[in-house]
């Protein structure tokens, strides 16, 4: 028997959950979704069914005071899930570069350190990329499942968000790999909370009562560097060049800005310096020669002692920020980040090796306006990381070859340039799709 107040709350919960279920069902009827997004939505539907069943049948059997606590907690659990469902519903296969995100999901899920995880794509309103922290939500969903007595397991989802304007883009969406780096960092608990006291001890003499803050800031900066390194190790210069492109959109790579740290991010000069180390170690130097590569080398040469602290309203904090920057840049701390990336990506394939195998054929295809899955006599479709990097190099250096065979397009007209570049990106996305189709056919 439910009291009037519990009955009222149960009715509200019932309406909320039913409405979400209807929203999902309607969207699924009208659209198709990337594989893991579809699984996430199905998981939400099953959770909705089990929740409604719990409210109808099992909740009334609970002890009186537990009824109200249970239903209030259930509503809160669904409010959390609510914030995840909408951006996933927005990201149907027509609104995301499906082959790219499908490949990324397989690429990341194939790494031993995070094997079997499933990347769900969200569309977000900002012109930015993000990773939604997922482990707390996963635990909350597991507890919700236990309360409602559902029989299924909570799948191992990760959530990456891309801007809704970039649905057909290949180049900019390489930035998703940085977010995948954050996903890996969270999944393996790269910088656990229990490490903070040790770090704080190291920082104590310089930072005194600020040592805890300093330790946490160092961890945040290190995770950013880690995410960059993961991205470059997995996708090569395509990530670095895409970052430079995004930077140009925002602040024109000014020398002051790229030397400035923010509360959440190390200075871009440091980030690019560390990326260049990986690119050189992976042997990209001979293939990645572009104007951007020269720019990258210049940025990497910016002296560390010219890095600038974040703007802080309190001028007395400037010295502390500078000390913290110096601490992060110590060789042993930078090495620690590289070592962690090496450790967790030990089984990755060097994208430069894939690229070298197919660079010539990809370039030839693009020069003639052909989808780069045609591989002549080789019967082997170039690997997606090779297609992505081939496309980026072509976009940055070789577009003139394409203008020659499409005389109707005037390369001095911005709109026409943009339209041809978009087409090139779409050919490459198609190339990735062909690779995935061939791979699945062979399995």
């Amino acid at each position: 028997m439910l009291t009037e107040i519990v009955l009222h709350k149960c009715t509200s919960a019932h309406k909320l959950v039913s409405s979400l279920k209807e929203n999902i069902a309607t969207s699924k009827a009208n659209n198709s979704y990337p594989k893991w997004s579809d699984e996430f939505l199905t998981f939400c539907e099953h959770t909705a069914d089990a929740t409604l069943d719990f409210i109808d049948k099992r909740l009334p059997a609970l002890e009186g005071s537990n009824q109200e606590l249970n239903i209030l907690s259930l509503i809160q659990g669904w409010e959390v899930l609510h914030t995840f469902i909408k951006p996933v519903l927005d990201a149907d296969t027509l609104k995301v570069p499906y082959p790219l995100v499908h490949f990324l999901s397989e690429h990341i899920g194939g790494l031993e350190a995070v094997k079997g995880t499933k990347i769900v794509i969200e569309l977000i309103p900002e012109l930015n990329y993000l990773q939604h922290r997922h482990t707390s939500v996963r635990i909350a969903m597991r507890l919700l499942k236990i309360i409602i007595g559902a029989a299924y397991e909570v799948p191992w989802f990760g959530f990456l968000g891309l801007p809704y304007s970039q649905s057909n883009s290949l180049f900019m969406n390489c930035l998703l790999y940085h977010e995948a780096g954050h996903f890996i960092a969270e999944e393996i608990n790269l910088f656990p909370e229990e490490d903070i006291p040790e770090l704080t001890k190291e920082l104590k003499s310089d930072f005194k009562r600020y040592a805890n803050w300093a330790g946490m800031t160092i961890q945040v900066w290190m995770e950013e560097l880690f995410a960059d390194i993961v991205a470059v190790k997995l996708i090569g210069p395509a990530y670095t060049y895409a970052s430079m492109e995004l930077l140009r959109l925002v602040h024109n790579l000014s020398r002051t800005n790229i030397r400035t740290f923010s509360i959440n991010h190390p200075a871009d000069a440091l980030r690019f310096r560390e990326q260049l180390k990986i690119l050189k170690a992976d042997n990209w130097e001979s293939s990645a020669e572009t104007k951007q590569w020269q720019e990258l080398k210049k940025i990497a040469n910016i002296r560390q002692n010219t890095y600038l602290p974040p703007d802080d309203e309190d001028p007395s904090m400037r010295k502390k920020w500078l000390k913290l920057i110096e601490f992060l840049c110590r060789p042993k701390n930078i090495k620690k980040v590289h070592d962690l990336a090496d450790q967790y990506l030990a089984d990755r394939a060097n994208p430069c090796d894939c690229f070298m195998q197919s660079a010539a054929i990809i370039r030839e295809c693009l020069q003639h306006g052909i989808v780069p899955s045609w591989s002549g006599m080789q019967r082997q479709i170039p690997h997606p990381t090779a297609i992505i990097n081939g496309a980026v190099f072509f976009l940055l250096s070789d577009m003139d070859d394409l203008y020659k065979i499409v005389p109707s397009i005037n390369k001095n007209k911005v709109g026409e340039r943009a339209s041809l570049e978009k087409r090139l990106e779409m050919w490459c996305i198609k190339g990735i799709e062909d690779w995935l189709l061939r791979k699945n056919k062979n399995q």
Binding site: L62, E63, N66, N70, N128, S136, H265
Partner: protein, 150 residues
Amino acid sequence: MLGKRNMRDSIGYVTLGLFSNALLNELQEAANNPGCVPEHREMIDLAIDSFHEIQSPKSISRPRFADLVFQKHQEANALRKTLSSSKTKTNLREMNKVLDTIVKDEVTADRRSKSIEKAVDFFRELARTAIIKAECPEERIPPGVAQLAY
């Protein structure tokens, strides 16, 4: 925005609320039959391991996917703050002993019953406080997203 909170800022408290409720349901079932070890003890075991891990980090070896609760900053913080503002006088170490007693084989029905009662009081108070705090977390944590923002 109309409301007072963003549920993503409240996730630590939501998790604590769900955790306490799931545990309460198991304890309630155990209370009906204190003569033997509870048949359903998934949550009790999870609580014992999670509390133990908070007190002695890295002491529990577990596969990557076997998530314990309260190991993330947001959840651990929510637990700390909820405990300090709830009426309960019991600390985590004592509660771990109580939960251990509930799942031990060689415990009398009377002792198990008293332990269950104590645990129910503790987690009911925890659930109540967590639910209230989830509605208006007193601090905004940095956005629950790791952005590439430049």
